[in-house]
Amino acid sequence: MDPLEEQRVISAVLDGDADAYAMLVNRYQQPIFNMIYRMTGSREDAADLAQDAFIRAYEQLYRFHEGKKFFPWLYTIALNHTRNFLRKNKTGRTVAIDDCELHTNSDHASQEEDKICALLDCQRIQGALTRLSWEYREAVILRYREELPMEDVATALSISLSGAKMRVHRGLKKLREILETNDDGNRNAS
């Protein structure tokens, strides 16, 4: 959905077309659900919290400044809602890394090998991400997984632009350290 189309959808929702909100939910449910899952480690909690976040965003949509980007605003609502949930329940966990699935329906050996390498890379990077604090992890994911500009990362995390740059930079640095430590450990073990 391009920004113009997104603005049209938001205008339609604000004009009373609740069904149009489905387009926004369908567009952003995956990153929101995954962000909450990364923070809670529970699919059930992630589903409930994502639903609450979308409902809350709808209720507050009349306060949204039309013309601004919807996703960072939604992300902030979902993030704050999840943090409140974790504060009350104190059940925050890190996600398991077995969500990198290997689809082995290919007959070609070389493709199979590529997929295994990709799987290992995926497990390696996800394992490292789980060891980052949520502040650094979300900054890195927003910047490189969602490919948001720094301004939007700052908006989504409710921090300044320089703060966002710092978090992304330090997050990457810490991630690199974790990966190097893991690689050293694996080499020593073998």
Binding site: V25, Q29, F33, N34, Q51, L129, E147
Partner: protein, 182 residues
């Protein structure tokens, strides 16, 4: 940036299939605050579509209403301007402070300059002469006759008119709902 590329390629879990439908079900009956809705409605441009026949009908109606309104206003003004005085005329009290006079009468265009029947009465305490008249709305000239021989205009009149013989008459303008005390 190998790490950045690897982060970009990390897979996402699929959200539950029922997430979107459950959100929609929950919001279906929610409404934005009435103040916001009214403000948004007021700010939204509206377009009207009509057939030429409807336009002609509406235009005729507007012309008719305007004509009736203008006519009503004109009639109202006319009535206001030409409304006859109440039965008996507008009460007017003429007063002259002249305690040394023995008699005072009023002559004018309203009595064809005939003082008979228009003698003023003296207030013994104040020494002022008064006479109440009931005149239809209009423009009048008048004067006081002292002791049956000396004619003077009303010294308290607001307007005077030359009588063509070197003297002046007081001018009295009587309007509707107008009670004057001279």
């Amino acid at each position: 940036m190998l790490i950045a590329r690897q982060i970009r390629q990390t897979p996402y879990l699929d959200p539950p299939v029922m997430l979107a439908p459950s959100v929609l079900k929950a919001i279906r009956h929610k409404r934005f605050p009435i103040r916001f809705r009214m403000l948004r409605w007021a700010r939204s441009p509206r377009s009207l579509t009509f057939t030429p026949l409807q336009a002609a009908f509406v235009a005729s109606l507007l012309i008719l209403v305007s004509a009736v309104g203008v006519s009503h206003l004109l009639q109202s003004d006319y009535r206001h301007a030409s409304q006859p005085a109440a039965p008996g005329g507008v009460p007017i009290t003429l007063t002259l402070s002249m305690p040394e006079a023995r008699s005072v009468s009023v002559v004018g265009t309203f009595n064809a300059w005939d003082q008979k029947g228009f003698e003023m009465r003296k207030d013994q305490e104040k020494g002022a002469w008064t006479l109440m008249l009931h005149l239809p709305a209009g423009h009048y000239e008048y004067a006081f006759v002292l002791d049956g021989k000396e004619v003077i205009p009303d010294p308290r009149a607001e307007l005077y008119s030359d009588d063509g013989f070197g003297n002046q008459n007081a001018v009295l303008i009587v309007g509707n709902h107008h009670e004057r005390t001279s």
